[in-house]
Amino acid sequence: MAETGIERIASAFAAARAEGRAALMPYLMGGFPDHETSAAVIDAYADTGADLIELGVPYSDPLADGPQIHAAATAALEAGARFESVMELCERVSARVPVLPMVYANVVLTLGPERFAAALEAAGAAGAIVPDLPRAEDPAVAGALLERGLAPIGFVSPTTSPARLREIAAEAVGFTYVVSLTGVTGERAELPPELEAMVASVREASEAPAAVGFGIGTPEQAAKVGAIADGVIIGTRLVRAVADAPDRDAAVDAVSAFMADTRMAL
């Protein structure tokens, strides 16, 4: 029998660990700046050693995202991206690398938990990240994912109380998404000093790996985080690389170069 999404996530982290490093988890905005470019970018991620890929589904009102990713979402929607077209991107690489669509709650609930989970399964996704659906807010979404062996990813943040952090980590399937800072997505000069303790508490309370995201913008920061966590998620920095590139080839070159440097630093 084929591996479930949850098992594939576990294997990806295990493989990185076997190499003595944290998993490299790049993010892209599906359909940004257009479908073809984002297809080239997701292929490049798979080619340059992504261990897992976080695939953003553009949304009109992304409350967890800073200006760079918000602008990318707006541009992707204007260029015609839809949930279905982003699932095509997922399907391109999902046999090579576990893919986790990142989707805002309204898109999920508009489809309905069952149709949402079925679409992810059909596209070969390994799980889902819904940044505005905290624990217990809508158990049907997690239920529909779990039924198909897909991982509903839970979040902890610096403001999460110790008791709640232990509950979220203990229930974690796939991995726990550790939000490094109190804020929205975006590059930061410094990562918060409390991060190490937060990651340690998550690991202590959980069997599942802890992956850190938000604010990581350089290979050096990635290496620092990689030394304390099981996975390093890089979002805004890569979206910016695509946004600043004059054309498709330049976008692919820019993300590939950053991926190579970061992979080396880890």
Partner: protein
Amino acid sequence: MSPVESRFGPYGGRYVPEVLIAALDELTAAWEEASADPGFGAELDGLLRDFVGRPTPLYLAGRLSERVGRTVYLKREDLAHTGAHKINNAVGQALLARRMGKTRIIAETGAGQHGVATATACALLGLECVIYMGTEDMRRQRPNVERMGLMGATVEPVEAGARTLKEAVSAAIRDWVTNVGDTHYIIGSAVGPAPYPALVRDLQRVIGDEARAQILAAAGRLPDRIVACVGGGSNAIGSFVPFVDDADVELIGVEAAGEGLNGRHGASLAAGRTGVLHGALSAVLADEDGQILEAHSISAGLDYPGVGPEHAMLRDTGRARYVAITDTEALLALRELSRLEGIVPALESSHAVAWLLGEGREPAGGIDVLTLSGRGDKDLAEALAGLERLDADG
């Protein structure tokens, strides 16, 4: 101590990033405590009386009554300090923020009334104040932008999207996500993640509580209908709630039909779908993929693609009825009320007046309480230009 609701039927909830959960828990606990504390209640009541000027009058509008063939009382929130009901919520939440030890206040504003009310409450209590406002709304509500500045608030222009209320709320939420430690977010309507819809309703029910006592004193009985405009729904829910258990009192919410319900509008209850906006499940304007649509209304305060979750429940249960009024109807009602009663209503409130002047004339003979949520000074330039266009088009 009564627990604060987080759901209204299926609606409401907390669809927010994890970072905010602790702050929402803290706010819920603080409101449960404060609302049960007689000391807090006395301080709030004192400010509402001496600073805000409550109770606001319930005024028997004689010429308007004659025009519509019913007995119409206006609940005069336009006479509250700063010119709208928004001050009831702003003063209450600012007091609560101080009690919670927060030193910085943020808020969003559309019409500018909530921004002005928040800037006012912050000046009163000596709190730092930042107001997010879309640049389109800054243009159409210029006087309010100047008032906020005068009272020491910083107005942060928001350039995203249609540059109106939805984007201002999003910008305020992003600020809150980042500065949640020392900052309280005073949301301006009965929307947002729990506990906000219940908190704002509790602070606005003073409108309905006063109106109930006033109409019993004036008319010797309950009214047949309560009528209020609905943007996010705070003046309406505050007006409705004290009458919800009075089955014979009809509750009517008036949304913005904008250019018409087949065109661009702001009628989430009358013509929207179920979805999540700004942290709550409610009625929203969204496309079939769940992307939020831009609303449109001539009145900045009704120009919002969502509505408070308690209204969605009242609609589903049939306890309240929601209707919609176009830009044109609202403009004409603004002029009509000005001429009939010497009261220039806000464009938002003009929607409620317009419904009464139209469909609301039927059946003849009953008693209505209409919440006049605010005064129209802020709208003069926009309204006069709009009326000039209408008159030119005949």
